[in-house]
Protein backbone atom coordinates (compact mmCIF):
# COMPACT_ATOMS: atom_id res chain seq x y z
CA UNK A 1 0.00 0.00 0.00
CA UNK A 2 1.13 3.52 -0.76
CA UNK A 3 0.35 6.82 1.00
CA UNK A 4 -0.21 8.23 -2.47
CA UNK A 5 -3.12 7.28 -4.72
CA UNK A 6 -2.22 4.69 -7.37
CA UNK A 7 -3.96 3.75 -10.62
CA UNK A 8 -4.90 0.45 -12.25
CA UNK A 9 -4.04 -0.25 -15.90
CA UNK A 10 -7.79 -0.07 -16.63
CA UNK A 11 -7.91 3.50 -15.33
CA UNK A 12 -4.85 4.71 -17.20
CA UNK A 13 -3.34 3.67 -20.55
CA UNK A 14 -0.05 5.19 -19.29
CA UNK A 15 -0.03 2.78 -16.36
CA UNK A 16 -0.79 -0.12 -18.71
CA UNK A 17 2.25 0.88 -20.80
CA UNK A 18 4.47 1.32 -17.72
CA UNK A 19 3.36 -2.08 -16.42
CA UNK A 20 4.32 -3.62 -19.76
CA UNK A 21 7.78 -2.00 -19.50
CA UNK A 22 8.18 -3.29 -15.93
CA UNK A 23 7.06 -6.77 -16.97
CA UNK A 24 9.84 -6.82 -19.57
CA UNK A 25 12.43 -5.44 -17.14
CA UNK A 26 11.51 -7.35 -13.99
CA UNK A 27 9.53 -10.32 -15.28
CA UNK A 28 6.72 -10.18 -12.72
CA UNK A 29 8.88 -9.29 -9.70
CA UNK A 30 8.20 -5.55 -9.69
CA UNK A 31 9.53 -3.65 -6.65
CA UNK A 32 6.50 -2.11 -4.92
CA UNK A 33 8.01 1.33 -4.80
CA UNK A 34 7.59 1.66 -8.58
CA UNK A 35 3.90 0.88 -8.36
CA UNK A 36 3.55 3.55 -5.67
CA UNK A 37 4.68 6.14 -8.24
CA UNK A 38 2.27 5.23 -11.03
CA UNK A 39 -0.02 8.24 -10.65
CA UNK A 40 2.50 9.93 -12.96
CA UNK A 41 3.28 7.15 -15.45
CA UNK A 42 5.25 9.63 -17.61
CA UNK A 43 7.76 10.14 -14.78
CA UNK A 44 7.77 6.42 -13.98
CA UNK A 45 8.62 5.53 -17.60
CA UNK A 46 11.47 8.06 -17.62
CA UNK A 47 12.80 6.59 -14.38
CA UNK A 48 12.58 3.04 -15.75
CA UNK A 49 14.60 4.07 -18.80
CA UNK A 50 17.25 5.43 -16.41
CA UNK A 51 17.22 2.22 -14.33
CA UNK A 52 17.68 0.12 -17.45
CA UNK A 53 20.62 2.22 -18.62
CA UNK A 54 22.32 2.52 -15.22
CA UNK A 55 21.64 -0.79 -13.51
CA UNK A 56 20.54 -3.47 -15.93
CA UNK A 57 22.97 -2.73 -18.75
CA UNK A 58 26.74 -2.92 -18.27
CA UNK A 59 28.89 0.17 -18.70
CA UNK A 60 31.91 1.25 -16.62
CA UNK A 61 31.24 -0.60 -13.35
CA UNK A 62 30.68 -4.33 -12.79
CA UNK A 63 27.37 -5.67 -11.58
CA UNK A 64 29.07 -6.75 -8.35
CA UNK A 65 30.32 -3.23 -7.64
CA UNK A 66 26.89 -1.74 -8.29
CA UNK A 67 25.26 -4.33 -5.98
CA UNK A 68 27.76 -3.49 -3.23
CA UNK A 69 27.04 0.24 -3.59
CA UNK A 70 23.30 -0.48 -3.34
CA UNK A 71 23.78 -2.66 -0.25
CA UNK A 72 26.06 -0.12 1.40
CA UNK A 73 23.73 2.81 0.76
CA UNK A 74 20.79 0.84 2.15
CA UNK A 75 22.75 -0.09 5.24
CA UNK A 76 23.85 3.51 5.86
CA UNK A 77 20.23 4.60 5.37
CA UNK A 78 19.08 1.70 7.59
CA UNK A 79 16.70 0.69 4.91
CA UNK A 80 16.52 -3.01 4.14
CA UNK A 81 16.59 -3.99 0.47
Amino acid sequence: MSFIKTLTPEESPGVARANQTMQEMFGGLVPQVFTSMNLRPDLLEALLAYVKRLLIEDHALSRTTKELIAAHVSQVNSCDY
Partner: protein, 177 residues
Amino acid sequence: MAMAQGFTREQVESILKDVNGSDLIDEQTKAILNLAEKATKHAYKVTPEDIEGLRGTGLSDEAILEAIHVTSFFNYMDRMADTTGTPAEGLREMVGGMQAAFAEIRGQIVGALAGASFPIATPEELLAAFPDGADTTCQSGDIKMTAGEAGGLLTADDFPFESAEQVADTILSRAAP
Protein backbone atom coordinates in the same frame (compact mmCIF):
# COMPACT_ATOMS: atom_id res chain seq x y z
CA MET B 1 22.73 -19.89 -5.72
CA ALA B 2 25.83 -19.85 -7.90
CA MET B 3 26.67 -16.62 -9.63
CA ALA B 4 29.41 -16.07 -12.19
CA GLN B 5 30.43 -12.98 -10.29
CA GLY B 6 29.25 -11.45 -7.07
CA PHE B 7 29.15 -12.44 -3.45
CA THR B 8 26.93 -14.43 -1.13
CA ARG B 9 24.76 -12.59 1.35
CA GLU B 10 27.22 -13.49 4.15
CA GLN B 11 30.16 -12.14 2.16
CA VAL B 12 28.33 -8.87 1.46
CA GLU B 13 27.58 -8.50 5.18
CA SER B 14 31.21 -9.13 6.06
CA ILE B 15 32.44 -6.61 3.45
CA LEU B 16 30.06 -3.87 4.60
CA LYS B 17 30.89 -4.42 8.27
CA ASP B 18 34.51 -3.36 7.61
CA VAL B 19 34.90 -2.00 4.09
CA ASN B 20 38.50 -0.87 4.46
CA GLY B 21 39.64 -4.00 6.29
CA SER B 22 37.99 -6.50 3.90
CA ASP B 23 40.23 -8.76 1.86
CA LEU B 24 37.34 -9.71 -0.45
CA ILE B 25 37.37 -6.43 -2.43
CA ASP B 26 40.10 -4.40 -4.14
CA GLU B 27 41.22 -0.81 -3.48
CA GLN B 28 39.00 0.60 -6.24
CA THR B 29 35.89 -0.97 -4.74
CA LYS B 30 36.84 0.23 -1.26
CA ALA B 31 37.29 3.78 -2.59
CA ILE B 32 33.90 3.60 -4.31
CA LEU B 33 32.15 2.31 -1.17
CA ASN B 34 33.81 5.00 0.98
CA LEU B 35 32.58 7.66 -1.41
CA ALA B 36 29.08 6.10 -1.41
CA GLU B 37 29.02 6.24 2.38
CA LYS B 38 30.20 9.85 2.53
CA ALA B 39 27.74 10.94 -0.16
CA THR B 40 24.90 9.16 1.66
CA LYS B 41 25.69 10.60 5.09
CA HIS B 42 26.75 14.12 4.12
CA ALA B 43 27.33 14.68 0.42
CA TYR B 44 28.22 18.35 0.99
CA LYS B 45 31.46 17.19 2.63
CA VAL B 46 32.79 15.51 -0.53
CA THR B 47 35.93 17.32 -1.73
CA PRO B 48 37.98 17.41 -4.94
CA GLU B 49 40.60 15.42 -2.98
CA ASP B 50 38.08 12.62 -2.43
CA ILE B 51 37.54 12.34 -6.17
CA GLU B 52 41.28 12.59 -6.81
CA GLY B 53 41.70 9.67 -4.40
CA LEU B 54 39.37 7.57 -6.55
CA ARG B 55 41.32 8.54 -9.68
CA GLY B 56 44.47 7.47 -7.83
CA THR B 57 43.16 3.88 -7.66
CA GLY B 58 42.96 3.87 -11.45
CA LEU B 59 39.25 4.63 -11.81
CA SER B 60 38.22 6.66 -14.86
CA ASP B 61 36.00 9.70 -14.47
CA GLU B 62 33.33 7.77 -16.32
CA ALA B 63 33.45 5.00 -13.71
CA ILE B 64 33.45 7.55 -10.86
CA LEU B 65 30.45 9.34 -12.36
CA GLU B 66 28.64 6.02 -12.71
CA ALA B 67 29.37 5.25 -9.04
CA ILE B 68 27.93 8.66 -8.09
CA HIS B 69 24.83 7.88 -10.18
CA VAL B 70 24.31 4.48 -8.51
CA THR B 71 24.85 5.96 -5.05
CA SER B 72 22.50 8.87 -5.67
CA PHE B 73 19.89 6.67 -7.32
CA PHE B 74 19.63 4.28 -4.35
CA ASN B 75 19.41 7.25 -2.01
CA TYR B 76 16.60 8.59 -4.19
CA MET B 77 14.79 5.24 -4.04
CA ASP B 78 15.13 5.14 -0.24
CA ARG B 79 13.58 8.60 0.07
CA MET B 80 10.84 7.67 -2.38
CA ALA B 81 10.03 4.40 -0.58
CA ASP B 82 9.97 5.97 2.88
CA THR B 83 7.90 8.97 1.82
CA THR B 84 5.32 7.06 -0.24
CA GLY B 85 5.04 4.48 2.56
CA THR B 86 6.24 1.57 0.45
CA PRO B 87 8.81 -1.08 1.33
CA ALA B 88 12.15 -0.59 -0.43
CA GLU B 89 12.47 -4.33 -1.01
CA GLY B 90 13.65 -5.78 -4.29
CA LEU B 91 15.68 -2.77 -5.40
CA ARG B 92 19.14 -4.34 -5.32
CA GLU B 93 17.93 -7.09 -7.62
CA MET B 94 17.48 -4.49 -10.35
CA VAL B 95 21.24 -4.57 -10.83
CA GLY B 96 22.08 -6.74 -13.80
CA GLY B 97 18.41 -7.54 -14.43
CA MET B 98 18.23 -10.03 -11.57
CA GLN B 99 14.46 -9.72 -11.29
CA ALA B 100 13.97 -10.97 -14.82
CA ALA B 101 16.35 -13.86 -14.10
CA PHE B 102 14.55 -14.66 -10.84
CA ALA B 103 11.19 -14.58 -12.58
CA GLU B 104 12.49 -17.02 -15.19
CA ILE B 105 13.83 -19.35 -12.48
CA ARG B 106 10.55 -19.04 -10.55
CA GLY B 107 8.73 -20.24 -13.67
CA GLN B 108 11.17 -23.14 -14.00
CA ILE B 109 10.69 -24.22 -10.38
CA VAL B 110 6.90 -24.07 -10.71
CA GLY B 111 7.14 -25.99 -14.00
CA ALA B 112 9.41 -28.65 -12.48
CA LEU B 113 6.90 -29.22 -9.68
CA ALA B 114 3.91 -29.34 -12.04
CA GLY B 115 3.38 -33.07 -11.40
CA ALA B 116 3.97 -32.95 -7.64
CA SER B 117 1.19 -33.55 -5.15
CA PHE B 118 0.81 -31.05 -2.33
CA PRO B 119 1.09 -30.58 0.62
CA ILE B 120 4.78 -31.48 0.79
CA ALA B 121 5.75 -32.03 4.40
CA THR B 122 9.50 -32.79 4.43
CA PRO B 123 12.73 -31.83 2.58
CA GLU B 124 13.01 -35.44 1.34
CA GLU B 125 9.52 -35.33 -0.17
CA LEU B 126 10.37 -32.02 -1.84
CA LEU B 127 13.56 -33.32 -3.48
CA ALA B 128 11.71 -36.45 -4.61
CA ALA B 129 9.05 -34.23 -6.23
CA PHE B 130 11.59 -32.69 -8.65
CA PRO B 131 11.95 -34.66 -11.94
CA ASP B 132 15.71 -35.28 -11.47
CA GLY B 133 15.69 -35.10 -7.68
CA ALA B 134 18.49 -32.99 -6.17
CA ASP B 135 20.15 -32.64 -9.59
CA THR B 136 17.18 -30.84 -11.18
CA THR B 137 18.65 -27.57 -12.44
CA CYS B 138 17.12 -24.16 -12.99
CA GLN B 139 19.08 -21.55 -14.91
CA SER B 140 18.76 -18.04 -16.28
CA GLY B 141 21.79 -16.37 -17.83
CA ASP B 142 24.73 -16.87 -15.48
CA ILE B 143 22.52 -17.71 -12.50
CA LYS B 144 22.14 -21.42 -11.93
CA MET B 145 20.69 -23.44 -9.08
CA THR B 146 20.06 -27.12 -8.48
CA ALA B 147 17.14 -28.43 -6.43
CA GLY B 148 19.71 -29.71 -3.92
CA GLU B 149 21.18 -26.19 -3.50
CA ALA B 150 17.71 -24.71 -3.32
CA GLY B 151 16.76 -27.20 -0.61
CA GLY B 152 19.73 -25.98 1.41
CA LEU B 153 18.10 -22.54 1.57
CA LEU B 154 15.02 -23.92 3.31
CA THR B 155 14.49 -24.60 7.01
CA ALA B 156 12.19 -27.02 8.85
CA ASP B 157 9.82 -24.13 9.61
CA ASP B 158 9.14 -23.65 5.87
CA PHE B 159 7.30 -26.97 5.70
CA PRO B 160 4.66 -28.03 4.81
CA PHE B 161 4.38 -26.40 1.39
CA GLU B 162 0.91 -26.07 -0.10
CA SER B 163 1.84 -25.19 -3.69
CA ALA B 164 4.67 -25.02 -6.23
CA GLU B 165 4.40 -21.22 -6.20
CA GLN B 166 4.98 -21.19 -2.45
CA VAL B 167 8.11 -23.34 -2.87
CA ALA B 168 9.45 -21.06 -5.61
CA ASP B 169 8.77 -17.83 -3.72
CA THR B 170 10.35 -19.14 -0.52
CA ILE B 171 13.50 -20.31 -2.31
CA LEU B 172 13.89 -17.07 -4.27
CA SER B 173 13.33 -14.88 -1.21
CA ARG B 174 16.35 -16.63 0.36
CA ALA B 175 18.50 -16.66 -2.76
CA ALA B 176 18.76 -12.88 -3.22
CA PRO B 177 22.35 -11.84 -2.61
